[in-house]
Amino acid sequence: MKEVTRRKFLATASVAAAGAAAGPWVLRAQAQSEAAPVKIGVVVPYTGVYAELGVSITQGMRVVFARENDRVAGRKILMIQEDDEMKPPVGIRKTEKLIDSDKVDILTGPVHSGILMGMRDKVHNSKTILIVSNAGADAISRERCSKWIFRASFSNWQPNQPMGGWVAKNISKEVFLIAPNYQAGKDMMEAFKETFVKAGGKVVAEDYPKLGETDYAPYLTKIKQSGVKAVYCFFSGTDAVNFVKQFDQFGLKKTIKLTGAGFLTEPDALPAQGQSALGIITGHFYSPLLENPTNKKFVKDFRGLYGGKVPDGFACQGYDTAEVIVRALRAVNGNTQDKDKLVDAIAKVEFESPRGHFRFDPKTHNVIQPFIYIREVKETALGLNNVPIDKVADVRDPGTGCTLPA
């Protein structure tokens, strides 16, 4: 009797001891997966001329996270936002803070391509997952691509390349090109030329005023004197407002059709452009007037959350970024430790976005634009806005020079 009892006692005791020893570990693991939040780093400008974009992107992200009650796979979602002021040194400093100090699980942003190029190596070498929510530098989908970097916004090439053929066919075979004198501006005009020239178009002249130019008078006079019937351009933010207004003031609207990359008439510029923007035709992957049910709900939710503000392309980029994060995390059950698995999950994400059917191109980790919409600025129920009048389907960045996994 005693031996059985002792063995039983020992067995029971050891089980109890093991349980007691393991108990705290099990409890802590459970507590960790419940208490430890998923950290999402956001590095965009919240001050400076492009603050509107940073705010819009963040707002788009919040629409998704709010819908999910700020939780995914049993973990809380914690957004850590940092202001990069659109300055590369600050952006890189903030990126390092988010990666090294805050130890974010996923990084998102930036708006400025210069900051993106500056942070690329740090992100790649530290194996941090980055989902680009704006910056369009083509290089990130080409020779500088990385297994850890995904882009949910656009590459500079995408909104422009389809426009070339369309403008040649529908507007005029002769254009004057004008864009600010920096990499993005030059890249966009090159992308336009690809299909424009092939469709029989002729570039009469090109001009590249300095970024941040406030007085376009000499260029507008040149445009008038060249005798063209159409202009294709890229401007954004303050430049877009000043160019469009001055274009109108010089009376050019009466005889010349103004076309361009979609950023020319996005809602960060449209209210200030006012009537001067009427009739401008641009190419973009988004318009708040898109008829698909996801977008209708998105517009409704966005306006509800933000006092009637109408979402724009930047908000859509934020929405898609957040949606990708949520779906990928769900697919791996919230496990942010196994990064390779998380990367695979992100690459496989597919869903209905306000812009259409969203998926990444496995070749470049860049989003495949379901459509590039050709839009015209008109008066609508939502005020002055970009109304889709035509579209080009399935636009993917050529990804020349990208070899994944890198």
């Binding site: 040194p89 400093r93 390092e96 090294d100 690329r120 190596d121 004198n181």
Partner: protein, 308 residues
């Protein structure tokens, strides 16, 4: 007194050297930025506090050092690219700019130096071969004497060694007969001229020394961050380093390092907490000028630093 100060300096250097062992990557990066901006500010203090030349274009040399260093390192990552070429380029630029600027003084000097640095900004901003608006990225860290300096620990020590050398150099210059003449010129240029000193030549030499150290700082900055952009030339960069000198206390050398620390820490920490950081920073400067004219070091020492 001197040995006490030397001991204190040695302790400080040791603490800075050991910092990466106890702190995470981000605080170490901040410290390294402070060190680099610190010698940048000190080189300006040589001009301002000792020679009495208020330059609003010191960013020109920082930018030149940064760009020359970046371009050279991309071609061949050695110490010559990292240090020698930027120093020579910055010295040459300082000689040129100094030659024209020193002919005038006071407000005109401020304006002229500002305009020169903006000229460099305009060139860097528009030139495609300099990366235009985006600048140059992917700058590698140099390899020295067979050792690669890419590991954080070795880079930290390399940086520290160079910063200490710069500090000691400036410190020696300020205490040398040359430094005394500079101070004499600052106090009363006419008298120095009457006594027979070639005042302009002294000023030019001070300008070139200051510019050279600033150029090395610029190159180190490009190595730290891995990139350089036209913003390095902006007049607001000149303004910020000017602020660092004034905050720390003009004419104190060490104050400039403190000023750099104060500015960078303030900027980083405040901007992480509030969107209104520009307002707070601006108000801080305004209040500082009105109520603490000697800067930090001046307030600490209870007296006003040497100023024009």
């Amino acid at each position: 007194m001197r040995s006490l100060r030397a001991a204190g300096f040695a302790v400080l250097v040791a603490v800075v050297a050991a910092f990466p062992l106890v702190a995470g990557n981000y605080p170490v990066k901040l410290l390294q930025e402070i060190l680099i901006w610190g010698i940048f500010a000190m080189s300006l203090d040589l001009l301002m506090g000792y020679a009495g030349m208020v330059s609003f274009g010191h960013s020109a040399f920082f930018g030149i050092g940064g760009y020359v260093g970046a371009l050279a390192l991309l071609k061949s990552p050695g110490l010559i690219s990292a240090l020698l070429l930027p120093a020579v380029a910055a010295a040459a630029a300082a000689l040129l700019i100094g030659f024209f600027s020193i002919r005038v003084s006071g407000v005109y000097f401020i304006m002229l130096t500002l305009a020169f640095s903006q000229m460099f900004y305009a060139v860097a901003f528009q030139a495609a071969w300099l990366g235009a608006e985006d600048g140059i990225v992917g700058v590698p860290r140099p390899a020295a004497l067979g050792f690669s300096l890419t590991s954080p620990g070795s880079f930290h020590l390399y940086l520290l060694v160079l910063v200490v050398c710069a500090v000691l150099l400036l410190w020696r210059i300020v205490r040398s007969p040359f430094g005394h003449v500079l101070r004499g010129i600052h106090d009363n240029e006419g008298r120095m001229q009457a006594v027979g000193y070639p005042v302009n030549r002294y000023k030019l030499l001070a300008f070139v020394i200051g510019g050279t150290v600033a150029g090395v700082a610029g190159s180190l900055y490009a190595q730290l961050v891995g990139s350089i952009s036209p913003d390095a030339f902006l007049w607001t960069t000149s303004g910020e380093v000017l602020l660092m000198v004034i905050i720390g206390g003009t004419g104190t050398l060490g104050g400039s390092m403190l000023g750099a620390a104060a500015f960078i820490l303030l900027q980083s920490m405040v901007s992480s907490y509030t969107e209104r950081w520009m307002l707070i920073l601006g108000l801080t400067f305004v209040l500082l000028v009105l109520f603490a004219p000697g800067g930090i070091l001046g307030a600490l020492r209870g007296r006003v630093g040497i100023r024009s």
